[in-house]
Symmetry: D2
Subunit: 320 residues, 4 copies
């Protein structure tokens, strides 16, 4: 009977537990042993490992976070760390390792794949949705809905006080979250790192909206677009109305996964185990053309996933 | 300037309002007038109509139900009714009509298209997800999440009391809801109208689970599979434990749409208006291979959308 | 160092875990040992017991159900069972026992108090709120909010389709849930077991509402008022409109407790341990005049808690 | 037939709409006319007024914000403004005015009561709960639950990454929100403006918790306690672990009111109209000893509501 390993790495994302559960149970049905490495790459360096069985992954499909925990692991960025991890895989007779995480984790996985014979498969799980090779990552849908529910509440106050709100959502370098959240809350302005924003254009949109009789304004901004506090001040100065800033923080990372995040987690996990059974490695699973598929790990790591900017255009028309 | 009409028909679905808002605003940006017919087909028979403008569709993106209201309309099933509706379109100079609804509504739309010169476009919105030509309908994701949130709560009691629960979800003829809900709550058994269920097999799964030490059991059943009350009694008799029945009712139809239902509503609405601008009619918009596309209305009405039964197999493995 | 015991009994209620956690931690701060008896009274008959420590009650404040599990236990209704339980308390050197449950559990506790020297304190936890001696039980606020959130969703459909809905909520003998839920969802009619309902009066209210131009109607009915299915049929026959029935089921028992249910659980648990430290027994804690207090267990068991019927009168005015 | 006025003032709070609805309908049942002044005190200065009827307050019981809107109104702080408002009441023949708001609004109401013959009644509605004369204000329970739900999500990440989080909640001068939220999320440290906090004590608690094996730490801080960003830095420096800051912002003000906020709104509104019918003025309604009561407006304005610091002691024991 063969052994496979699982590790969750980088920031946590809702649905990681659903993926762990699915891996353990699909693997069990195929007569595989499953080892969970704890605290991200750190567990591969320290050989901190726990056996995953169908029973001990029970009752976690609906819970946020990751029972394997995770961490940022600077040692893993050096050759020495990578080799230590490869040795751990070897000493545990791990035939294949499933890495659940985002693009940073996948770059680590790529490095590791060069030092080990173990097959490595990536499952994209990050609220940022910034992994090339999948139309959607595990956790993205949950993070979007968490932010949307909050902004729906903020809209109540915005309307009651006839005020402009800037809502900063997660996304240090990418605007997937901001674009989808902005469109689905009906934001008047959406600011993403992928597009240039002229401050004058923002002023103009706000002034036009006031002229049209719109009683509130929501600006959804990715954290990576710059200093939102400063932006609030500039708008206040220009339009002579109070502008409020609200930062939707870490709550976006947690919480019970939505059905969609659970479904993706289950489908991706199933596919990942299948790939290992077919002796395939150095690949990631993902959603392509609405279907579960897989691509090369290296390609995923070296290609930037494009943001569909036409969403922003549509959002603008919809917030007329 | 041309005029287009909108009607919501059949059962309501969360996201219908987001679609109405998007149609009104996209149309406005293209210099089209928009008329909303009220109470479903009834509004076309009685010429009950209201003008939709960017301002009066404000603040509805997040609300359940439909501001145009809907109804079941038996008169519309007869030739006379259809002709009356065609006259109403004519007298209002409606160039194109967008019908937001499910497969029943689309069959009505197909009949109507034979009696009128107005172009007719369907936007699939039904919690049942049973429309051919789209991988997902507006409202489906919301209904799934509503049921999942409820069953997560029921699981608390099931575990605390170590009990079997049958949870009946909507779906008179189709099992899309039951399959997705069942998989994402980790149901031990999923019963859909599309598959035969041997009672002995159900007994066996439950007994195996008890033997494995599982402390609770959730059976998700589509309403169309037969008498769930009787099923509860049979299981109780066989396994000599209390079996509880919970029916997740109309709450599945309502509530604030999820981000995904709002997104689909916005994208479908945009596409529907584009089709009318291209002078295309007798088509429905939908999600195909993960992208917004369109197919013939007639094809949608006359083809049964298949349920992916492999989901049920996976669900079974995952609930091991 | 003294030992105290804890048991959760009867139906589960959200907040039971918060109470268990609070008991364990307050007791620990007072140098007491805590034993948890599992599966309700059954654990006292079979001596199934687990030690509760500040660490192993971590992370449960927000979870529904009860980690000690619960059960209905027919043997405990007989003298022999009660004596067995008393022996278990004795053999475990339990100085005081805290019983978390509803009025049925408290009647059991009263019987047990007659056969043991252990001090017995009750903490009222039941979604039904039907315990004399407390203005509110742990779990009630959560169950009310769960039902309210569901009925808010049903209202969307009721308005869109202009329909009457009967919503059956829990409450076999008492109407606390129905009254509070009904008032806070703006129900047009509220039916509780404590009041007589003339069917003609219901017809009249509905007809008046239709005449006033109200587009929907919600009737909230406690399950104990009789056959709601039959009621739906009668109303349908009289007013010649479709009437829908929705039963809000077991989801009301589960789910993450509201802040208020967690707060009551914490305050009640603290008080219960204090009473034991003062060597007081045969009492229950509760909320009286908005403050944490305690009364005799016997008095609680033998007195019927009155339902404030003026709430129903107000609700009627508010749904004008 | 007499006329009464209603105004919502200051920050909005969930349940204000439920109160407006209840005032309009109770008043209607007593043959009173109801006028709603828009945008807070501004509406009294500009005579911007709308008639409230049982029909036009329909469908708002569950919505956040206030349909009458609100504003900060600097002119109302001067004698001239107050007199203008008194004239508006006179010219509209307003016999009694119900002011829905917090302590700032009540101070304005007190000033106004000295310049008008109209009877003035205050209904406490503010998420801050800082009004003397009531144990709870409309909106407080909702804001607490909103924050608790968010922090429950943050806890997932805190545990997965074994990290300390500071969560800043609303409360510029008072700690009611922070205390209740902190206790009900199981925060390890709670910081309120009413108590002195020694930084060394905070260090010690965190270090003890790490020593005990606690995998995460939540510090709930009222915004009024000082610079939370600086606090995060100091703790990071001392314990040499990453400390994250999350600010729960304006979402706390909005959203659908909880059942409890709706219930208080309904009861307070009913009482306020009764007081006017009894020709009583210059009073506020409130919850005292768990029951609806009333006290002098002046007393409410001039007395500081005490925060029960024993809650913080209990919270500390409970987070052992």
């Amino acid at each position: 009977m063969k052994t496979i390993g699982v590790v969750t790495s980088g920031g946590d994302a809702p649905g990681m537990n659903a993926a762990i559960r699915a891996i353990a149970r699909v693997a069990y049905s195929k007569n595989l042993h499953v080892l969970g490495f704890e605290k991200g790459w750190e567990g591969l360096l320290t050989n901190t490992v726990t056996r995953l069985t169908p029973r001990n992954v029970g009752g976690i499909i609906q819970s946020g976070g990751t029972i394997l925990r995770t961490s940022r692991c600077p040692e893993f960025k050096e050759k020495k760390g990578i080799r230590k991890a490869a040795e751990t895989l070897d000493s545990n007779k791990v035939h294949g390792l499933i890495v659940i995480g985002g693009d940073g984790s996948f770059r680590g996985a790529l490095e590791l794949s060069r030092e080990t014979d173990a097959l490595i498969i990536g499952i994209p799980a990050t609220i940022d949705n910034d992994v090339f090779g999948t139309e959607e990552t595990i956790g993205f849908d949950t993070a979007v809905n968490t932010a949307v529910a909050e902004i729906d509440k903020i809209r109540d106050t915005a309307i009651s006080l006839e005020r402009i709100f800037i809502v900063e959502v997660m996304g240090r370098t990418r605007g997937f979250l901001a674009a989808t959240i902005g469109l689905t809350v009906g934001a008047e302005v959406i600011l993403v790192p992928e597009a240039k924003h002229e401050i004058k254009e923002i002023f103009q949109i706000i002034k036009e909206n006031i002229a049209k009789g719109k009683r509130s304004g929501i600006i959804v901004a990715a954290e990576g677009i710059g200093d939102t506090r400063e932006l609030a001040r500039e708008i206040e100065k220009e339009i002579r109305r109070e502008v409020r800033l609200s930062i939707i923080g870490y709550a976006q990372r947690g919480g019970s996964p939505t059905a969609r995040s659970r479904l993706l987690a289950s489908l991706f996990a199933d596919k990942a185990v299948q790939l290992l059974l077919e002796e395939k490695g150095s690949r990631i699973v993902g959603l392509q053309n609405g279907r579960v598929a897989d691509i090369e790990l290296k390609k995923s790591c070296t290609t930037k996933k494009p943001l569909d900017l036409s969403l922003l255009k549509l959002a603008k028309v919809l917030a007329t």
